[in-house]
């Protein structure tokens, strides 16, 4: 184990993933991130106060390229030693040793990250929904709240029996299961409608892709419907996500319907067995 623990300045890696805290779920997390079906396997640096918990990964293929920084992830020095300035993503796992106070450590870690590099992609695991408002003051990009996830999954399984199997399929990273991918619109489909793109994708039998929705940016409005502007007078933009755009109707005021014309910067959400190559397939 000692041999695996190196100083950050020895790593010399970039575009890597940092995992803060080593918990029971870290093993599965590493296996998902380094699954053979993942095209670009990024090196992983784990920051933990208990490096002895990390299994001996020498014999395991998925553990290749994993490094450890011993320290508290809410400490800026530990984050810097893990090379946070050049990392692609930081994952903060809830420290299960702290039980109910684990979220406090997660918040402290996000604040430390924000202080060093606020625009890095951060994924945080949060135990209690009551702590979610505190994350509004941080730059965390994605929050997985265990409490909400549990309640929603159980409720959905109850009302749509079998749905947990579908979610398991969509969430499992492997070559023979589906995942959800976010892709840019192929350039030659800019200006065409969502429905046209959908039909073209359905006709792509060889790729087994399902187009489920689109993401776009729109001007943010206040509760009165007025467009919000920043202190320079520019419109504030916000991202919107539309699953299953509907047929255009008089009763709905949304501009994101099936006949919405795709613009540059829009993205599509796809279900596929591996990362689809839309630009190539739709030529």
């Amino acid at each position: 184990m000692e041999n695996n623990t190196k100083l950050a300045n020895d790593f010399g890696v970039e575009d890597h993933i940092i995992i803060c805290n080593w918990t029971k779920k870290s093993d599965l997390l590493v296996k998902e991130l380094h699954n053979p079906s993942v095209e670009k396997k990024r090196p992983i640096i784990v920051i933990t106060e208990n490096p002895q918990d990390v299994p001996d990964f020498e014999e395991d293929e998925t553990y290749r390229g994993i490094m450890i920084v011993k320290g508290n992830p809410s400490n800026e020095d530990s984050l810097k030693r893990a090379g946070i300035e050049s990392a692609a993503t930081v994952i903060i796992l809830a420290d299960e040793r702290l039980a109910d106070t684990a979220d406090t450590k997660t918040i402290m870690t996000t604040i430390a990250i924000d202080h060093i590099i606020p625009d890095i992609h951060v994924v945080a695991e949060v135990l209690s929904a009551s702590n979610l408002p505190f994350f509004a003051y941080t730059f965390v990009n994605e929050i997985i709240c265990l409490e909400l996830l549990t309640e929603r999954l159980l409720a959905q399984s109850c009302l749509t029996p079998g749905v947990s199997f579908i979610f398991a399929d969509l969430l499992t990273q492997s070559s023979d299961t589906n995942e959800i991918y976010v892709e840019d619109i192929p350039t030659h489909y800019i200006g065409k409608t969502f429905q046209e793109l959908r039909k073209a994708i359905v006709a792509l039998d060889e790729q087994d892709i399902i187009l489920i929705g689109l993401g776009s940016s729109t001007e943010k409005t206040d509760s009165g419907g007025e467009i919000m502007v920043d202190h320079h007078g520019n419109s504030i933009m916000e991202k919107v996500l539309i699953i299953n755009p509907k047929a255009k109707s008089k009763s709905s005021s949304t501009k994101y319907h099936k006949d919405y014309k795709l613009i540059k910067g829009d993205q599509v959400y796809l279900i596929a067995y591996s990362r689809p190559n839309l630009a190539e397939g739709l030529k």
């Binding site: 599965l28 998902e32 994605e142 749509t160 947990s164 979610f167 399929d169 499992t172 892709i209």
Partner: protein, 407 residues
Amino acid sequence: MLILISVWFIGGTLTILSQWIISPEVQKSTHDYLQYYWIVFIEVTSGFDVGGEVKRLNTLSFGITILMLIAGMIIGGLVSGQIIAIILNAAQKAGLVAEAPNNFKFIDPIIIFGINKHLHGIISSVRRIDGNANRDIIIIDEEADEISILDESDYKNIWYIKSDPSRRNYLKEIFDRNISSDFKQSDINQLYKASQKSCRVILLPNQKKDSNLEFIDPETIQKAMEIETFKENVYTIIQLQSVESKRYLKGKQIDEWLNISDYSTKMIAQAALSPGITNIFNNIMGGGNEDTNEMIRLSLIHDSLSNLSFRDIKNWIVNDPNIDCILLGFCKFLKEDDKGIERLRNPNYYFQINPVEPHRQKYYRDTYNSMSVKFNKDTILNEGHQNDLLVYFANKNIAFDQYIKRR
């Protein structure tokens, strides 16, 4: 009370008049006449005949007595109902969930077995996903009488049944007493016709601080198995604490199991691999905008689409711009020959999401020994039966036949 007094007075007076006019010889004094008020009072308040007195009555008085007995039963029912309503109101005013009425058989309720910190969240999620359905939810636990109402609108039609694990067969007693076995009225049975399932039971693990972590999952599984020993047609969903516990489920008939740690870890990995993905899952798991309510849904395949391949149905849906859904796959009813060793939950059905081309199905099977691609795009649906289901994203359940009729 006014009705009770009126019925008593009218009934008593009519009996006295009838006895005085038709058979005055039976009564020896005024006191005997006044006794009829007492007899009628007993009949009206209890619904039972006062034994022996009936011999003194003539035919008309006997008829009046019968009417009084019926009135007594009705008034008794009304009074009991009023008392129950007062108790329920009192319980609700005290901010607690009301007890399920004794001997009332609920049809197709959702049963939540056990209490933990997720209970309130599950109730509000069910209400949110289910729209205005307000279906009955019954909570069974030793401490179920202490559940507080957090939100009046979410807690309509929520009932508790206090369990007593020290009594043998206490679960069976509860199900026999309060749950209707008429699975034909159940909406779950309308979807999974071949399974003949009725109410849904969610089994929550006991997450109290003094609970031994090693025994939490076996205890939950044991409860699920216990229910299934006397009630085969319930749809059981259990929440597991540890992924290791899945091994205990081999050969059991538990329909769905959820290990949240497993799901959350995989979601974290997906979020790291595809930034922005959490937002999509959040939306399709019922956490999106209340106006959209976009979720995974299931519908039976209409007769006119029977014997078509998945590919044909998908092309039909995509080419009709008025059908507002994204077809994800299908849920195939398995005949005996089709059943394999795959990771089946509901053993009579198989979920095939994003069916692949036949040659790719062969590739996945040969290369990865895959159990995720049992069927392909050319699989014929509803072949020889009408049990298959379509799986799709939509903001409401779609009756596909309405589009067929229009066409």
